[in-house]
């Protein structure tokens, strides 16, 4: 899912979303990739 779409759906500010994504990435739940401003978030599937 694109970060833009995720932000619209979650109604979070970009800063709040960024902090949440950073925490989720640290916990190995999601992977954020792509060039600045056009990032995509992918769920990392568990074992």
């Amino acid at each position: 899912l694109a970060v833009d779409a995720l932000q619209r759906q979650s109604r979070l500010s970009l800063l709040q979303l960024a902090k949440s994504l950073a925490a989720m990435e640290r916990d190995g739940l999601v992977k954020v990739s792509g060039p600045p401003g056009e990032e995509v978030v992918r769920l990392i599937e568990g074992d």
């Binding site: 500010s13 970009l14 800063l15 979303l17 960024a18 950073a22 990435e25 954020v32 600045p36 401003g37």
Partner: protein, 304 residues
């Protein structure tokens, strides 16, 4: 018991009931709530109601099932404690629209009592607002709310679980998203006004003064740690990015978050780390008042 003695006793009981009501309603400083003109009026109206009730009871010879020996005392007690119930009796009903309104002495008594009570409330509100804002001035809600509540309730010996829960709910509500735009200091005042009802203004003032020192030391230690962490984390590269963001904001003024992210060429994770860090260090702030999420240099909103 003579008629005058009975009336005086009933009036005194009525006054005591009114004082009791005011003490239970204005718990933060009952003494100051009672010692005001409006409170005197409230107590006076209640006492006059009790005297009038005693006069009615004596005139019509109501006995309330009491024997001859206990009759005077019963009449005084009913007049003193039960004047409100006695006057609640409606003499006749008036239909207004689809509502039936009872008209009787209670309507007049209630209007007088609620007007006096409202006047006491307004006076207390002004005093509470003055003392609480003076106590909470310069106290950070975000940094110190939990510590302040813990400290105040640790100092109190008889605070109930409901009172603690009410305050905790208040903190949760102030931290909720709809209040994001509310300045930290205003949240701090709101918390102070809730706390002062339970702990009183002196305990609140004392607690804030004691915590301010600790919080300020904690804040400087955390700033030093953050700088250390930042040096380890990003070093000169992060410092350059920070400078770039600050320069962009200086040149453009408040910028929509997405626009700032694009101009600074930051990934969303870098953006979160960097802006979050700058926000913690109070170099930038997020302004949501216009409906957009704008990032601006700290203090920029107060310049215009």
């Amino acid at each position: 018991v003579s008629a005058v003695g009975g009336a005086a006793a009933a009036g005194l009981l009525g006054a005591l009931v009114a004082v009791g009501e005011l003490v239970s309603r204005y718990r933060d400083d009952p003494a100051r709530a009672i010692l005001s003109l409006s409170a005197t009026l409230y107590v006076g109206v209640n006492a006059a109601g009790a005297v009038a009730a005693f006069a009615l009871i004596s005139t019509f010879g109501w006995r309330f099932g009491a024997s001859s020996e206990s009759l005077p005392v019963t009449q005084v007690l009913v007049a003193g404690f039960g004047s409100a119930a006695l006057f609640r009796t409606s003499l006749f009903n008036v239909t207004a629209g689809d509502q039936v309104i009872g008209i009787g002495p209670s309507a007049v008594l209630n209007v007088l009592l609620s007007a006096a009570d409202r006047a006491v409330d307004r006076k207390r509100a002004r005093i509470r607002s003055e003392t609480t804002t003076a106590s909470m001035d310069g106290f950070s809600f975000e940094m110190g709310a939990d510590a302040l509540v813990a400290y105040c309730f640790a100092a109190m010996q008889n605070a109930s679980a409901d009172e603690v829960k009410d305050i905790e709910d208040k903190i949760v509500a102030l931290r909720a998203k709809p209040n994001d735009h509310m300045p930290d200091q205003v949240k701090s005042y709101g918390l102070g006004l809730s706390l002062v009802t339970v702990v009183g203004d002196k305990v609140l003032h004392e607690a804030v003064q004691r915590l301010k020192g600790s919080l300020s030391r904690m804040s400087s230690e955390s700033a030093v740690n953050e700088q250390g962490e930042q040096r380890e984390r990003g070093g000169p590269k992060t410092a350059a990015r920070e400078q770039q963001v600050l320069d962009i904001l200086r040149e453009n003024g408040p910028l929509e978050e997405k626009e700032l992210q694009k101009q600074a060429q930051l990934t969303i994770i870098q953006y979160g780390d960097l802006i979050g860090d700058l926000q913690r260090r109070r170099l930038v702030e997020l302004d949501k008042s216009s409906g957009q999420d704008l990032v601006q240099l700290a203090g920029a909103s107060g310049e215009g």
